[in-house]
């Protein structure tokens, strides 16, 4: 530039000022402390066996598995929702409403419908697990390549089509459920309602590495995501191939959603809840700052609810439903206050 005057070098921070950065750091440390505390509490609190005995470790082990399930669920929902919000340039609609729950419900219902109670066991095999995952990823990828390959690249169109397709699949599911006898219906609801203490833990050995790989990939692409959050036009101008990036991220999102949904069932508003809280705590565009906060929030929320409901209300089955209700209410309040998507 023609201006040859020496300009004092200032730096551009992810945060508006030092106070914001400090607030983020304190929140992060606070959340880590609470998360560690809740983890220890969940594992050892009111263990009926004497400390160090064989039985003690057995019970502790069972609880560790619950903690791992919660970690996988929190990781998947938080990373998937934040990344999805970023590439679709909206902060309201989450991947959950794109029909994952509906597809999951449909696959499970169809199995019970066609094979009776036997089908409930059929859908638990490892082969069918990967089949479900493949179905979900294929569904999402097909939907988006179709939508993005056509002449409009309007996110609102995409979202509305997703919501309506979800509703169509749900109709099909409802119909099949209606044809079930009450016994089969009970088996099915146990499956379709998210449940931490009764998770399909046999999938954990597969889900944990897959989730870790996808989450690491998203983390490494944080700066790219920062730019994608500016929308299609601006990020294309800045040299990103928006459509390719969008499809890549959407595949990652669908894998994460498939993992968590088949572990504990659908949770419509968990992702929305933790992402919304993370945005207001981190108050920055930087995904390196948002991702850890949203994950920790999800983890703390779920372990906290699990701990409280288990030891105080003796109703650990209701964890996900409680989180869903809180999330739903927060969702309504946010759209009322914001007035737009």
């Amino acid at each position: 530039m023609a201006n040859t005057m020496t300009v004092p070098v200032e730096t551009t921070s992810n945060f508006i000022n030092a106070k914001h950065r400090r607030r983020w750091l304190i929140s992060l440390i606070g959340l880590i402390v609470v998360a560690v505390g809740l983890t220890i509490a969940t594992i050892v609190y009111s263990n009926p066996m004497p400390l160090g005995s064989n039985g003690f470790w057995k019970i502790a082990e069972a609880r560790v598995i619950s903690v791992v399930v919660i970690a996988v669920v929190a990781l998947s929902h938080s990373f998937a929702t934040v990344a999805f919000h970023t590439v679709t340039a909206n902060r309201i609609v989450t991947p959950s409403i794109l029909g994952f729950e509906a597809l999951y419900g449909l696959i499970n219902t169809a199995a019970v419908f066609f094979f009776g109670a036997l089908g409930a066991t059929l859908t638990r095999g490892i082969v069918s697990y990967f089949f479900q995952v493949a179905m979900m990823v294929a569904f999402a990828t097909l939907l988006y390549t179709w939508l993005l390959g056509s002449k409009f690249t309007n996110v609102h169109t995409m979202l509305l089509v997703g919501v309506v397709m979800g509703a169509g699949l749900a109709s099909l599911t409802t119909f099949m459920q209606r044809m079930l006898d009450p016994n089969e219906f009970d088996i099915l609801t146990a499956r379709l309602m998210g449940n931490i203490s009764n998770a399909s833990t046999e999938y954990l050995p597969y889900a944990v590495p897959i989730v870790l790989v996808v989450v690491t990939w998203l983390w490494l692409n944080s700066r790219r995501l920062d730019t994608l959050s500016l929308g299609s036009a601006v990020s294309t101008n800045l040299g990103l191939n928006h459509r390719t990036e969008l499809i890549k991220v959407l595949i990652a999102v669908s894998i994460l959603m498939a993992m968590t949904t088949s572990l504990v069932g659908p949770m419509t508003f968990l992702g929305f809840l933790v992402a919304t809280m993370a945005y207001s705590i981190a108050d920055t565009y930087s995904h390196r700052a948002i991702f850890p906060i949203s994950f920790l929030l999800g983890y703390v929320l779920l372990t906290g609810a699990y701990f409280v409901l288990r030891h105080i209300f003796y109703a650990q089955g209701a964890v996900t439903i409680i989180v869903e209700l809180i999330g739903g209410l927060v969702f309504l309040i946010v759209i009322m206050r914001k007035g737009r998507l």
Binding site: I92, V93, I97, S150, K151, F152, N154, H156, T157, L159, L160, V161, V163, V164, M165, A167, G168, A170, S171, L172, T174, F175, Q177, R178, M179, P182, F185, T189, M193, T268, F269, I321, E324, L325, G328, L329, F331, L332, I335, M336, G339, R340, L341
Partner: protein, 337 residues
Amino acid sequence: MTKLSPTRPDGLVTSIGASKNPGLWSRTWPLLIGLMVTLSLIIASLFIGVYDLSSEGGREMFLITRVPRTLALILSGASMAVVGLIMQLMTQNRFVEPSTTGTIEWAGLGLILTYIFIPQPSLMLRMMVAIVFALIGTIIFFAFLQRVALKSSLVVPIVGLMLGAVVGAVSTFVALQAEMLQNLGIWFAGSFTGVTRGRYELLWIVAVTTIIVYFVADRFTVAGLGQEIATSVGLNYRAVMIVGISIVAITTGVVSVVVGSLPFLGLVVPNIVSMFRGDNLRTNLPWVVMVGIVVITLTDIIGRTIIMPFEIPVSMILGVLGATVFVYLIVRRGRRG
């Protein structure tokens, strides 16, 4: 045609009154053909079923089940289509109807709560509660619409569907706690199977609301252009909105108690009609009524015959078909830019 220019982007351009006046006959004959099709479907509906009408007691069966069922089809099909139309006029948005605004889910929540707090509630009581909840839900939706900044025609139904999802989640939670989840499922699968004498009569209420719509429909168009324009042309905006919302709530409430939820009917029918006939409210109204009856009677006949002797709930066919048509409409709109 005289056009009122819409103030909102993507608004419906609905002309009021046709200045072009083609011959009476050329305007009437398509209507007559439509009427014939509708009537023949109605007659088909009367005579399709498992029960052999020529056997002994066939006459009674006919009067107890077939006639009420067919009347219920006519009344609910016509009224839900018209409700969809007036909601679209009031919001100037093609994608709005009771299932994209949460209205149906609210009625469902009301029904579940009635069952929980009052053992064996009467039909009348359930209907009243459903209407009140539908009213609350519709008012919340319209209150929300006032605050929504981005009135893109796609954002409104997205938000409405999400509102419905939240209310539906609350219903599911309540039903799960009260172990009534399957009841909720059955209710949401709207069906004409159980609509017999002694039950369908409530639907005459929606006949009244539909007739009222016939006389005041134009005002909803004007109200849809916004409070300012409506007031400046001398319309009592508040009164019209209150009447409109009440009609929506009463119709949705009554139909959901007697039949169950009929997803996307109010969305698909007015859109099909305007696709073929353009947007002229006055001359489209009879078509909306007729196509509404045709669509629901056809889906009911399909539902009755496809896996005889069992029945598929109408709502399931409507849900799948409606979703398909809905997606087509969105994509078509997207292509046009």
